[in-house]
């Protein structure tokens, strides 16, 4: 697998107290790969994802997409935020929210664009809700709108920042399976940040674990599980359980080390 999305020697220091959130972080994501990025809270995994998206600048190091440095948001990479209540604009209907991603970047007529957006809403199971306002929808449905909006721009990569962590357990499970389906059907590359080890293992082909602050890459492991994954079977597979135990021990060790270092 080629180095499609490459992170090299990335470091972020916060100007206020000069401490590094993470340093010397290097890894690459191959085209079509599903990679989960996990780590204890405060290790800077969300900041790392923002930098990869071009939404903020690193203190050192580079991000490259297919060889070209990423300095600002790129249309090939779409970001899905944790805070869907903010990211989905509450003054726009579901359809208008999805349209927002495409209407300024296409010469196609409004009808054509609406049709594209409706298809993408269909894809996330919201085909019947184009005229609804976000406040009329559940959290899971709002996050589906955000995913549809991202997909309508036909990105190659989805950068997802704890997209399901604000949802209740049932909705999270539903959206995990939806995401896996979209990933395989649309040949997407996904980089998925989460603090939930189980979610990372269930979804990803590879799990990258950051250590406690300042974060560095502590683990980079393949997940030896076949697709399609099944919520019950996969999560009780021996290979899953063994890897989970190993990573879990490491994560606890990271958290302890982080406590010992102190903020």
């Amino acid at each position: 697998m080629t180095d499609y999305l490459l992170v090299d020697g990335l470091e972020k220091r916060f100007s206020s107290h000069g401490r590094a959130a993470f340093k010397d972080v290097s890894f690459s994501v191959g085209q079509g790969e599903f990679v989960a990025l996990i780590g204890p809270s405060g290790c800077g995994k969300s900041t790392l994802l923002h930098i990869m998206a071009g939404l903020s600048q690193p203190s050192a190091g580079t991000v490259r997409l297919a060889g070209a440095p990423v300095a600002k948001p790129r249309p090939e990479m779409m970001f899905v935020f944790q805070q869907y209540t903010k990211s989905i604009f509450p003054w726009k209907t579901v359809l208008d929210n999805v349209l927002l991603g495409v209407k300024y970047h296409s010469d196609a007529s409004r009808e054509v664009l609406e049709k594209i957006c409706l298809e993408h809403l269909e894809l996330v199971g919201l085909g019947r809700y184009p005229g609804y306002f976000p406040y009329q929808l559940s959290g899971g449905m709002q996050q589906r709108v955000a995913i549809a909006r991202a997909l309508a721009r036909r990105p190659k990569i989805l950068l997802m920042d704890e997209p399901f962590s604000a949802l209740d357990a049932m909705m999270r499970v539903e959206l995990q399976d939806l995401l896996l389906k979209l990933w395989s059907e649309l040949n997407l590359t996904v980089l998925f940040v989460t603090h939930d080890l189980d979610e990372a293992l269930y979804l990803a082909q590879r799990v990258i674990m950051l250590s406690a602050s300042p974060g560095t890459v502590a683990e980079d492991v393949r997940v030896p599980l076949a697709y399609p994954r099944q919520q019950i079977e996969t999560r009780s597979d021996q290979a899953y359980l063994q890897l989970r135990e190993r990573l879990y021990r490491n994560m606890v060790a990271q958290v302890m080390a982080g406590r010992a270092n102190g903020p």
Partner: protein, 265 residues
């Protein structure tokens, strides 16, 4: 155990404003009664006499003329304040450098009560309608300006990041994000200023003018047409009420997403 049923009266008192309307009627009745039997003074005419004067002034077109004179000055000053306040407020809220440049000045000028500008304006703009329009403009500007920039400044970082990942230009970001996100607060400022604009319009007319409701009320008082004075005041009460009601109606249409969603959470 079953809950005791709330009585019908209690429900009406709690759920409708019927009692409030009844109170107004009761107070007017009390006024009428006191003027008829206890207070015999030209300064305290009966309510029926006031209504008579009111209808006379409506019938001969006097009130309409003055109402129109007040309204157009108020709306011109207020309209200019809205345009200027929103434009400047959006720019100050969005660009930190502009905020730092203008905020101290705004905070210095803001505490000056609107009427204090009047003598100054007479010197520079004269005593015509222009003076009143500028007075209304100056006094109405600050609530709109302040609410607009604080509305823009409180927009969540995630929303700006969303706009950037969707590849919106600055102009598109204003149109799709900044203006709608700040609109609840902009409208709050506009509603405060609407009341202020009427106050300043009346004040300006009372100081120096030859038309408008402020002029009408003061002239009636000075020429001992006391029922006319009360009729003018009643007209102002009605005008203020109607303007506020209209505003609320338009507001609830414009930001239904906001009222509905904040009502739920």
């Amino acid at each position: 155990m079953s809950e005791p049923k709330t009585s019908r009266l209690k429900t009406v008192l709690r759920d409708s404003r019927l009692s409030g309307v009844a109170l107004i009627v009761l107070l007017l009745a009390f006024w009428q009664f006191s003027a008829m039997y206890f207070v015999h003074s030209p300064t305290w005419p009966t309510v029926t006499r006031i209504f008579e004067a009111w209808f006379e002034n409506i019938a001969d077109g006097t009130l309409a003329t003055h109402l129109f004179a007040t309204l157009w000055r108020q709306m011109l000053g207020y309209g200019l304040a809205v345009l200027l306040g929103i434009a400047l407020g959006l720019a100050m809220g969005y660009y930190k450098a502009l905020y730092n440049l203008f905020e101290p000045l705004v905070e210095t000028l803001r505490p000056i009560p609107g009427p204090a500008y009047l003598p100054l304006l007479v010197l520079f703009v004269g005593i015509g309608s222009e003076m009143k329009v500028v007075l209304i403009l100056v006094a109405s500007l600050f609530p709109i300006l302040l609410n607009t920039y604080s509305g823009v400044r409180s927009i969540d970082r995630v929303q700006f990041d969303t706009a950037r990942t969707l590849g919106l230009t600055t102009l598109q970001t204003f149109r799709e994000l900044v203006v709608p996100a700040a609109s609840p607060q902009i409208l709050t400022g506009m509603r405060i200023s609407l009341a202020i604009s009427l106050i300043l319009a009346i004040l300006g007319e009372m100081i120096v003018s030859n038309d408008g409701l402020g002029y009408f009320v003061l002239l009636a008082q000075r020429t001992f047409k006391v029922p006319d004075m009360y009729a003018g005041i009643f007209t102002l009460a009605l005008l203020g009420y109607v303007l506020n009601r209209l505003f609320l109606m338009i507001e609830s249409r414009l930001i239904r997403w906001h009222t509905e969603s904040s009502g739920r959470t």
